[in-house]
Symmetry: C2
Subunit: 353 residues, 2 copies
Amino acid sequence: MSAAPDVSQLGSCPIRVGAYDRVVKGHGSGGRLSQELLESVFLRGLGNPVLQRQEDAATLAPAPGRLAVTTDAFVVHPAFFPGGDIGSLAVHGTVNDLAVAGAVPRYLIASFILEEGLLLSDLARVVASMRAACERAGVQLVAGDTKVVEKGKGDQLFITTTGVGWVPEGRSLSIASARPGDRLLLSGTLGDHGIAILSVREGLTFETEIRSDSAPLNSLTSMLLELSPEIRCMRDPTRGGLASTLNELAAASAVGVEIDEAALPIRPEVRAACELLGLDPLHVANEGKLVAVVPAERAEATLAAARAHPQGREAALIGEVVAAHPKRVTMRSVVGGTRLVSMLAGEQLPRIC
Amino acid sequence: MSAAPDVSQLGSCPIRVGAYDRVVKGHGSGGRLSQELLESVFLRGLGNPVLQRQEDAATLAPAPGRLAVTTDAFVVHPAFFPGGDIGSLAVHGTVNDLAVAGAVPRYLIASFILEEGLLLSDLARVVASMRAACERAGVQLVAGDTKVVEKGKGDQLFITTTGVGWVPEGRSLSIASARPGDRLLLSGTLGDHGIAILSVREGLTFETEIRSDSAPLNSLTSMLLELSPEIRCMRDPTRGGLASTLNELAAASAVGVEIDEAALPIRPEVRAACELLGLDPLHVANEGKLVAVVPAERAEATLAAARAHPQGREAALIGEVVAAHPKRVTMRSVVGGTRLVSMLAGEQLPRIC
């Protein structure tokens, strides 16, 4: 459902730029080596008419509506993991931030910070993965930049992606707009991305491989907003997990939030891994899920529509917005009783995205 | 003329976020510590109505014309240098890429990659410098992101700034549009930024302190394009220096370029430093200069206008576009004879911006 494109065959094919098969400081000089890297890896891998012009700024035709912009730095470690890599993640993460804001994502802009010594074949594999992810999400990469830092002053590669899109006229989602009575729709299972990363990092193996849920959500959001323009707002619960997202919502809208533990979709293997590692799945990052705040009367129809979409097959109504305990999130436990759900307090999973 | 705002007093004032005076991994968790860092440093330092909303994407009213976007990662080392710092540089560099493309810069989006252990007071100083630079350039910072990497996996801080602006209707600059007979206008002295950085890095002292020329060029470009809409294109000769910019121009327009060594404005102390360090000033980075390709009949009037502007006081006509030797750049030397000017070939000055 959210499988990353297969770019593994590229990894085994060494790539040379001039005399080099690894990134050297000169690739960041702005001179001839930079130009060679641009042509051999970036333009070849991503090439499209706007990039080929190599102007200092890309100029683009506007569309009707308000402009939406968002940015994210991606420093995920390791850069390759089950279900994706730093390249597809950088595309999906930024596409999703636009999508949950109600925007139609159109353009991406990417900046790369490369550590001296990075294998050019790894870079090419990431670039190929970005291109495939852009095609899948229907966005175009229109501008970029590359810098090189000395060995030991970075960690292979960091990517910052900025997204530009258009919010259609009349659409205005805001996390300050939740009202008591609204229902909370979660588009699928919790914790897959965080646990997939952690499994690789810690060398854990499970009976079933846990794959990242990294995927673009713009097709799902576009369908949901078309069907239910009454949706108050949407968020993707990435770093900090669902708990942090719901706390932000409760604070911004000055409402209470109540969720049902029994309603939360969590894969058995993710639940088992969380128990083993002492993690709360509510704090674990997701990279292909969203929470929508939906007026009660539209909740069932919106859920049915989400479930009919490939990115929403396991969608569930997980709770509601209440007037009681404003700015606090609580959870009714499966064994009875209610507990406070707080934002992630410590570090838990550094470099998860 | 291009003095950086004085934010030095902030450097001596320790800042705490919760229990911390330095960046810790938890500041990148997406949870409570991330929120505290956002509020204490970023919103306090940069705060404006769009950022305060804390939505996943900022939505902005469009302006007439074509949309222009550009991005740059800034990894300059050291982060503080005479005439600026990584924060003001990140604002100016991105504003200038929009400005030389003929766009009116409007919005910036910034992503920060922080190394664990970075002093929060240094971060606050950079943020204050960014705010001052934004105000000077007339742009607004509307969205951002922060990630934290472990000690030894970064180098204090990296900033990626993406700029969004609008190209007025009917304006279309392109580095593919230079024609034989066009004159080349350089807006001021060469090499100041690169030599300023290198002086700090190598601990060199000169009789006169060499300061970076880092400055926003949008007021200058806007005035020049208003006066001389016939300008074919503009570029800012940053990494790789004037030599790399002119080679890119010659290649993109399939023309020859000839410059006069005697016409190049270079400060005596920069010239002396270049001789001492064995550097060609044509390869040294600038961060507040532009080259404009101007039809011959508009050259003198454009020069006079540039010289009347604070960012163009030392502007000069430095050469011309020729039909001979397409895709090559040559220089008539002060002692007679002509030499080929090639792109920067090696690394020369890593992490100059």
